[in-house]
Symmetry: C2
Subunit: 266 residues, 2 copies
């Protein structure tokens, strides 16, 4: 038999979870030659959907989970994670979770080889992503596992980082601001525009440029708008116009105050 | 003399103001053949900087402003605008402002031909922009002026819109959310990362993808993160970790609450 240069070509991976992260990560790994040997989800229809998509076995029965895989990916809601690692005993396999906020230490006592495989990206089921540009943050229980996880990560992406649990927790909070809250700002804009019959497309170039700017400038230096130049007249007008949208009004007020403070305190 | 097909090739434009909008708009117009015949700024050094950049006359003396231009662009802080239009009397020229929040009616009684020329984009002095992709929102006092402004806008951009003052005001608020507040979310992320020694670059692909998603999905459908799936455990952890950053903590709390509400009320 011809020796395989890269071990991950014969790696067998089981995914516990079938959400957005599992869907994209499993598809990305499969494309690189990793065998996805099973998908588990508590909800059979979800397991089935992803299993069929990846052309691999699937189950919703925890007792049917294969025990001979090389690596187990736990891509679950944080609250479900603890329950699962306590249910398993596959000491030879590597166990990794894909979450921003779970410390690696949670595996302690429940697995021998373990780590974290955290792709820092926002995944939506409908939209394909290019994994080669996605930073993958690795943490491992020892250097041997670290090497294996790094190898695997490098098959997917040119951007791999060794990140401690403490750093990863902070990174996750930063990601909530830079992605989830940012998207909510877009959503707020769309609500305001919808009410006035303005098509959302008109604001898309602005959104693209705002994201593009911070590739070459710090966000601090890139800040523009009425709050940073403290144009009280506009701020007051806007607050007045938002009177029928009290939730957005409160956000406008709080963020404007903070932007102004951030740029005068320094 | 060979007749010029496009009148704007012999148009003479004066800019009142030398900030980010004036800088980029004047440069964009000049590139398309418009003669920038003068830059005015209250601060001589600012007028000089832009004047030299565009190789055109400049002044900080309001009495030196040329009176024979075809079009006057008022690219000023809103609070300075009223003062200026009251000082001028060039009835044959078109007077336009470039602001999101000033109603066109403010010209009423002070000019005969007037309108609004509002490029919906974020401009920073250091970063060049591609005007061909920037939506330009036009409003005019009559159809003759509207035609001229539309013609001029179309030389700059493939995206021109007729937008009323009422719509423009709303659009401006939407832009504050989609651009200024979004950028502040990036800034918040960078503050959190800086404290943990994580390079900002690691989050840039996430920011790019977040902006890219809403080209093909609504922001409502693109929403991800602990708030929308109501992962209380993570939200509580994050709030605990933000205890030393009370301003960001308050923002985290308010936005999470709003995202959750937005996705359960519907």
């Amino acid at each position: 038999m011809r020796p395989l240069k890269n071990n991950y070509y014969r790696m067998k991976a089981v995914f516990i979870g079938s959400g957005n992260v599992a869907t994209h990560l499993a598809a990305g790994l499969k494309e690189k030659g990793v065998t996805i040997s099973q998908i588990y989800s508590r909800t059979l229809s979800n397991a089935e959907m992803l299993g069929k998509k990846l052309d691999c076995p699937y189950t919703s029965d925890i007792y049917d989970i294969q025990t001979d895989a090389d690596i187990y990916f736990y891509a679950l809601k944080d609250s479900a994670f603890k329950h699962f690692i306590r249910s398993f005993d596959m000491p030879n396999a590597i166990h990794v979770h894909t979450a921003g906020s779970i410390p690696m230490g949670e595996f302690d006592g429940f697995a021998t080889k373990y780590g974290v495989f955290y792709p820092l990206q926002t995944f939506s089921k409908g939209k394909p992503v290019d994994f080669s540009e996605i930073p993958i943050c690795i943490e491992a229980c020892n250097s041997e596992v670290q090497l294996k996880l790094l190898d695997l990560a490098k098959t997917l992406s040119s951007k791999t980082y060794i990140i401690t649990s403490e750093q990863r927790k902070k990174l996750h909070i930063a990601a909530v601001f830079a992605c989830n809250f940012t998207n909510y700002m877009y959503d707020a804009a769309s609500q305001i525009m919808e009410d006035s019959g303005i098509p959302f497309e008109i604001i898309q170039p602005l959104i693209a440029e705002t994201a593009d700017k911070i590739k070459t400038m710090t966000p601090y230096a890139a800040q523009t708008g009425p709050a940073v130049r403290y144009d009280e007249k506009i701020i007051r007008k806007h607050l007045y116009m938002l009177i029928k949208k009290p939730k957005l009004r409160k956000i406008y007020k709080l963020l404007s105050k903070n932007i102004h403070k951030r740029h005068t305190d320094r």
